[in-house]
């Protein structure tokens, strides 16, 4: 990899300051995406700003009807936190399905959603559970956060602080994993909460998206049969060596039905 300056700020303001000062600064969280990308010389930051010591980004807590997950919380911490397992088991199961134990021990929720890989799992939770992303400057609705392939609403030097997940009445995540990496070929989060039913799909398109027809049908009757009649169009879905667009369209319905069954 190319050389860079390594910085390890002790506070949130210091991190933002260092990033603003840098010619081309990047935040480093778990490094599970960034370090492989740097090794391949696909990215060459002038400064790496390590978020490890920022207390503001750590920990999981319950606040009213929401679970707040700090940006540097690892996937393994999400899996093992009792509040998440009890109140948001769909999120714990999603985190447990990511990669392998060593990736889960380092990779973080903030890094995953900032990276916005089309096949990543967490985007389905952020949109499918109607989460809110808190940054150092504002709050961004989950629905507005993912804007395209590897693109988000984050401004340069903007830092994710936490993600706030409202606790749903019921929810489940089902994915058809790539057998090698366990990234989602198609993953579907279905939830029913105070703001209605949500169906969010990852892995199938350039970024996570909702399926309004399914949401409307499930709002009337939360049962897998109601999805039977809905056709998912393959237009604009991803096509690669793992799955054709048609197969992904098919999988969306299968995974959505399984998620409805698991959530009931």
């Amino acid at each position: 990899m190319y050389q860079f300056v390594y910085q390890r700020p002790g506070s949130l303001p210091e991190a933002v300051e260092q990033s603003t000062q840098a010619r081309e600064g990047l935040f480093l969280a778990g490094g599970m995406t960034l370090i492989p990308t740097m090794k391949l010389r696909l990215t060459a930051p002038s400064n790496l700003i390590d978020l490890t010591d920022l207390a503001e980004l750590k920990g999981i807590r319950q606040e009213g009807n929401a679970i707040i997950v700090g940006a540097t919380t690892t996937h393994a911490q999400v899996v093992s936190t009792p509040e998440v397992r009890d109140l948001l088991p769909a999120l714990a199961a999603l985190a447990e399905s990511i990669g392998d134990p060593q990736v889960r021990n380092r990779g973080t929720i903030g890094g995953s959603i900032a990276n916005a890989d089309p096949a990543a799992d967490y985007p389905a939770a952020v949109v499918g559970l109607g989460a809110i992303v808190k940054t150092n400057t504002r709050t961004i609705a989950g629905d507005d956060f993912f804007t395209g392939l590897f693109e988000t609403a984050l401004d340069p030097n903007e830092l994710i602080v936490a993600v706030s997940f409202p606790i749903p009445q019921r929810a489940a995540y089902m994915k058809f994993p790539n057998p090698a990496s366990r990234y989602a070929i198609v993953g579907v989060m279905v939830s029913q909460g105070n703001d209605g039913v949500r169906v969010a799909v990852t892995g199938a398109g350039p970024n996570v998206f909702r399926v309004p027809e399914m949401e409307q049908a499930l709002a009337v009757n939360f049962a897998p049969e109601v999805l039977e009649e809905i056709t998912v169009s393959a237009d604009e879905l991803n096509e690669d060596l793992h799955a054709s667009a048609d197969y992904r369209a098919h999988l969306i319905k299968v995974m959505a039905k399984r998620a409805v069954v698991a959530a009931t």
Partner: protein, 156 residues
């Protein structure tokens, strides 16, 4: 511009001057000459490089040495004591859990992380846990048997 990194490595306090881009596995193998930790893929896939950082298993090819400043690192070399194999190493020998042995240090360090949290894992739990460890020789069956037997020996 080199940076000094101080860590506890297999129980000893050590430090080294490294470039920020130096990987943890390079620090372990090239600076401290502990070559039991292997590099298989160098792309975060194979798990040959697994070591423990503060008790958690991680891929040392995907961590910068500077990130582990102050941490407690254990490698495969920490296991055998006074020429006696650790029960998990012994189980791999007894159950033919290795052929070429390239993947073995990473598999064993990964397995010990599982057993620290789950002393009596089922066969399925062991197989799922090994998602991040690739073995091109054994077909995994004897690895799974060895981990089961090693866990049993460790429970005593």
């Amino acid at each position: 511009m080199s940076v000094t990194v101080s860590i506890t490595l297999n129980g000893e306090s050590v430090s080294a001057a490294v470039e920020p881009s130096t990987l943890l596995v390079e620090l372990i193998r090239e600076h401290f000459r502990l070559t039991g930790t292997h590099v298989g893929c160098d792309t975060s896939q194979c798990g040959a490089c697994v070591v423990h950082v503060n008790g958690c298993s991680v891929k040392s090819c995907t961590l910068l040495a500077v990130q582990v400043e102050g941490a407690d690192i254990s490698t495969i070399e920490s296991l055998a004591k006074n020429g006696r194999l650790h029960p998990m190493q012994q189980a791999f020998k007894t159950h033919h859990g290795l052929q070429c042995g390239f993947c073995t240090p990473g598999v064993i360090m990964s397995a010990l992380d599982l057993i620290a949290n789950n002393p009596d894992p089922s066969e399925m739990e062991i197989r799922n846990w090994l998602e991040g460890n690739l073995c091109r020789c054994t077909g995994y069956n004897n690895i799974v048997r060895a981990i089961s037997a090693g866990a049993q020996a460790m429970r005593g």
